[in-house]
């Protein structure tokens, strides 16, 4: 068992994402890849390659060129046939954390504790901290209308600081920029940079209602990555607790409209339900895991639920 990665090494400002109390609460969590991942060094995750380990994989007939060290002499003694014995190879994990820093992620509903981007960053930081703690390599990508910062996957002891600095990047607040790039283009760009198959964890509010917005996830999945999507939603987005007449403004553009919140609530919730159902269906069809993360829920609770549900599904 690997030692927990020391939280104290995190820098001061980014350390707000990962304080001592949080690391203590998530110290017992482990990340396991559900699919075979490519790694250079030995680790705790299943590899697509056969190698030397204690986990027996299969017997097969010897073919010229096979490593003679793999011959099972006992089997040869029993049935006079050359049989090769294969074992599972275990390797380390390359986890890529994708953080959406678009303007819509700057929403906190008047309560800083539920800031969407901060919450998403905290979730990813905690996940990265767990991975680094068990010796896996962790990389990070922050994007808004385009890729803002990329951090290759490393498992060095001082890598957590760099990781947190990427995750602590501020959200683009300039609504006049509009939605110049779609979620799809960002994910496509990212999929070209994540390299060997590993684990991809996306934290985003997925507020791109284009039908092809999540299509790149299927490409990541096809490349052999374990893909997981954390749908970051603020309670006010989910419950629409507003009352009376209000002027609603778009978080990513200068659009606005007036509406009576009481009368529009039912229709809005219906639209939201449709939207979230579509997100889940698109993620699942792309081979990705999908989970909703309300920003008013404790990070460790969301993370534990995420890892537990993934384990039940054979993911971790």
């Amino acid at each position: 068992m690997t030692k927990p990665y020391p939280a104290s090494k995190a820098p001061n400002a980014p350390s707000k994402l990962l304080d001592q109390a949080l690391t203590e609460r998530i110290a017992s969590l482990r990340v396991r890849a559900s699919r075979a991942v490519d790694g250079i060094r030995s680790g705790m995750h299943k590899s697509p390659h056969r190698g030397a380990s204690v986990i027996f994989a299969e017997h097969r007939d010897y073919r010229p060129g096979d490593d003679l060290r793999m011959l099972d002499w006992r089997a040869y003694a029993r049935n006079d046939r050359y049989t090769v014995k294969h074992f599972e190879q275990e390797t380390h994990l390359r986890a890529h954390l994708l953080l959406d820093l678009s303007a819509s992620m700057a929403f906190d509903g008047g309560s800083p504790n539920t800031h969407k981007a901060t919450y998403a960053a905290t979730l990813l930081a905690a996940f990265g901290w767990i991975c680094l703690g068990q010796g896996d390599a962790v990389g990070a990508f922050a994007f808004d209308t385009d890729l803002r910062k990329a951090l290759p996957a490393r498992n060095r002891p001082d890598h957590l600081e760099a990781l947190l600095s990427v995750l602590a990047l501020p959200v683009a607040h300039d609504r006049t920029l509009g939605k110049s790039a779609s979620l799809a283009s960002c994910l496509t760009a990212l999929s070209e940079r994540v390299g060997r198959r590993g684990l991809v964890l996306l934290a985003s509010d997925l507020l791109d209602t284009e039908p092809e917005a999540l299509a790149p996830l299927s490409r990541l999945s096809a490349l052999g990555h374990d893909v997981m999507v954390l749908h970051i939603m603020h309670p006010q987005e989910l419950e629409f607790p507003f009352k009376h007449g209000l002027r609603f403004e778009d978080a990513e553009s200068l659009d606005s409209l007036e509406a009576d919140a009481d009368s529009v609530r039912t229709a809005y919730l219906a639209e939201l339900d449709t939207f979230m159902r579509q997100c889940k269906e698109r993620c699942v069809s792309a081979g990705a895991r999908y989970a909703v993360a309300r920003t008013d829920r404790p990070v460790q609770e969301v993370l534990a639920g995420l890892l537990m549900s993934a384990r039940r599904a054979g993911w971790a």
Binding site: D205, E237, F248, E249, S263, A267, F275
Partner: protein, 682 residues
């Protein structure tokens, strides 16, 4: 139109309230940044235009609510001239003339409907608490709505009342009835409104009014309708007779008269047609000469065994259509076939047994009975086919032989009527022996009596006239009829011995008269009640009804023969409506009074055992009263100076604030509905 409190209109400034509220809704609203703005925008997109329209509609409705409420508070009113009276409570009697002349059509509706409309206007103009009554002036005058304080209910009753203008006119009696109705009221202010066309024939002499107890009642006469612009033709006479010069044809002599215009100089002709069984059988025309046109039309004679109705109709267009036709009954299937058996024929006519009977029957008015009479002597009776008779009268006839007696019994059993009248030749023992099966009671012979008078028996129902005309009858001798407990006694002597008894036997009936039909036993034939008694006995024995070929005036009552128990008599009106009277115990002669229709009425009789096989017994014709055909406008009666006319209608303020409050209520409901719709529209 005006306002009682115009200052309340200042409240119209309140209209700005919804405008301000509407504007305030559009002011700068609190801003909320919403990341899921696209979803909200999509949710709103569906209903945005509908909501905008609903918002505008809500604004209009709210403004309308305030405006209507303010105007209602200003108490608006319109000036309206009352259609009757001065708006004070009063005891009002309305006399509606429903005589035939009111059936004239003018301006698309009949005058009687115009009367109804006017009467409803009067009722609508009366304030609550008024007393009203409505009297119809068709002869005989009658009360349509007795005095009531429920004016609205009276208006509904008047609206639904079937008013048929077919009768003659009796305005005088109607006015008297109206005044009597008013005397039942408590309000001192009394008004009588008489509605009529006041044609020349209107029977109202103002001088008669002085005899009424007017007691300060104000009376006004309103003429309904104007003078007709066309002459009025009517069938004054239509008579059908067999024409000896035209075998198998019936001649119908028709006389048509005109009123209202002299047609002689215009060369106009009255065109008439005769319709038999719904088909035109003959047409013709006749020139007018001194207002009279006469012609004779011929139609194929109907079989004598059938009763056929013919309608003589004037085709020429005239002022009043209701009097343009007259109905005639052809054939005599409904006549009572009477067989008179003379037991004591005498060459000296006054001594003849049937002298008084035949003369009485000759005087029988057609309204009473239509008879086919055959007379035979006692010896010839054995050779007569009884099936050709409905009623057989044995007048002082010796007891028939056994064979003949059996035929008489069978005749009664089969439904015939047998009347046995007393006389010296009546052998009591032989009668008891041979006709005991049908005799109402045993006969003990004859006995002298000392000027006994008649009295009503225990079951006098078959005698509609009762003892009228019979009280002074003095009997010197009589047949002794044995009194029995169940005996149906129509007449008795003052010593309570039966004088006229009856008995149902089989389908027929037998009557036994203790007096003679001549003057041998008393002076019965000389008394005025003899003819009605004879008619009642024949009707009762025949089981027939009052058969009348003569015209009956609309509204007259017809007395029918009392049907036996389990038997009925029904009258079918020209329109097909049927009224049925069932026999009662004791027998009671029913009266038919629904004669408010012009044409031929059929009287049928039948038994409960075979209700659908009612047999035609008689017919009578209800003809239009000819005096009503003169439509020349007469003079509206003028009252003396001591009788005040009803005051001229006054102008009153009619508030319509209640309607505005009703509108406010409706608008508030609409506003609520719109608000709900607005919410559910998203």
């Amino acid at each position: 139109m005006g306002l009682e409190t115009p200052l309340a209109l200042l409240g119209l400034l309140g209209i700005v309230i919804p405008l301000v509220v509407h504007r305030m809704r559009n002011r700068e609203l609190p801003r909320v940044v919403l990341p899921t703005f696209a979803l909200l925008s999509r949710a709103l997109a569906r209903s945005q235009s509908k909501r905008a329209f609903t918002d505008l509609l809500l604004l209009v409705v709210r403004i309308a609510v305030i405006a209507a409420a303010v105007i209602a508070l200003a108490a608006p009113y319109v000036r309206s001239r009352l259609r009757f009276g001065d708006g004070r409570r009063a005891n009002v009697a309305i006399v509606i003339d429903d005589s035939l002349s009111m059936a004239r059509r003018e301006g698309g509706s009949s005058l009687i409907e115009a009367e109804r409309t006017r009467a409803r206007e009067v009722l609508a103009a009366l304030p609550d608490g008024s007393e009203v009554s409505v009297v119809l002036a068709g002869k005989p005058a009658r009360v349509l709505i007795p005095l009531t304080r429920d004016v609205s209910n009276a208006a509904r009753t008047l609206e639904r009342a079937p008013l048929s203008a077919v009768r003659s006119n009796d305005l005088g009696q109607a006015l008297e009835l109206a005044l009597r109705q008013q005397h039942r009221g408590v309000l001192a202010e009394r008004r009588v409104l008489v509605l009529s066309d006041f044609a020349r024939h209107t029977a109202l002499n103002p001088a008669e009014l002085k005899g009424f107890e007017l007691e300060g009642a104000a009376i006004s006469f309103e003429r309904i309708g104007t003078a007709p612009d066309k002459p009025n033709l009517y069938v004054a006479h239509a008579h059908a007779t067999a024409d000896p010069t035209r075998p198998n044809e019936t001649s119908i002599a028709i006389e048509i008269r005109s009123t209202g215009s002299d047609l002689d100089g215009e060369g106009l002709q009255a065109r008439v047609e005769v319709e038999v069984n719904g088909k035109v059988a003959s047409r013709g025309s006749a020139p007018f000469e001194r207002g009279v046109a006469k012609t004779v039309l011929h139609i194929p004679s109907p079989p004598a065994s059938e009763t056929t109705q013919a309608v003589v109709r004037i085709v020429t267009d005239d002022a009043l259509a209701a009097d343009n036709q007259a109905s005639i009954v052809l054939g005599d299937a409904d006549a009572v076939r009477l067989l008179l058996v003379n037991g004591d024929p005498q060459p000296a006519s006054r001594n003849d047994e049937l002298y008084y009977v035949t003369r009485a029957l000759a005087l029988m008015p057609p309204l009473e009975l239509t008879l086919h009479t055959q007379t035979v002597d006692a010896l010839s009776l054995a050779h007569v086919d009884l099936s050709g008779s409905d009623v057989v009268i044995l007048a002082n006839v010796p007891a028939p032989e056994a064979a003949l007696a059996k035929r008489l019994v069978d005749f009664v059993e089969a439904g015939g009527g047998l009347i046995i009248a007393a006389g010296p030749r009546v052998d009591a023992a032989a009668y008891n022996a041979r006709l005991g099966g049908v005799l109402p009671s045993h006969v003990r012979g004859s006995a002298r009596c000392n000027d006994l008078h008649f009295a009503l028996g225990s079951s006098p129902g078959a005698l509609p006239e009762g003892l009228a005309g019979l009280r002074e009858v003095r009997s010197k001798e009589r047949l002794l009829i044995e009194p029995q407990a169940q005996l149906e006694s129509l007449l008795s002597y003052e010593d309570e011995l039966p004088a006229l008894v009856a008995r149902n036997q089989g389908e027929g009936r037998c009557l036994l008269l203790a007096a003679s039909l001549d003057t041998e036993y008393g002076d019965l034939p000389l008394r005025p009640g003899f003819l009605p008694l004879l008619a009642a006995m024949i009707r009762d024995a025949a089981g027939a009804t009052a058969a009348a070929r003569a015209n009956v005036a609309p509204g007259d009552s017809i007395t029918l023969s009392a049907p036996r128990p389990d038997h009925f008599v029904e009258v079918r009106a020209p329109g097909g409506q049927t009224q049925r009277f069932w026999g009662q115990q004791p027998a009671e002669a029913p009266k038919f009074s629904a004669t408010d229709a012009l044409g031929v009425f059929e009287i049928r009789a039948g038994a409960a055992a075979n209700e659908h096989a009612a047999k035609l017994k008689a017919t009578f014709v209800v003809a239009p009263p000819q005096d009503e055909s003169d439509l020349t406008p007469g003079v509206v009666p003028e009252l003396g100076a001591d009788v005040q006319p009803i005051a001229e209608p006054v102008t009153v303020h009619v508030p319509f604030a209640p309607w505005l409050w009703l509108a406010v209520f409706g608008l508030v409901v609409l506003e609520g509905v719109l608000r709900v719709r607005r919410r559910w529209a998203v």
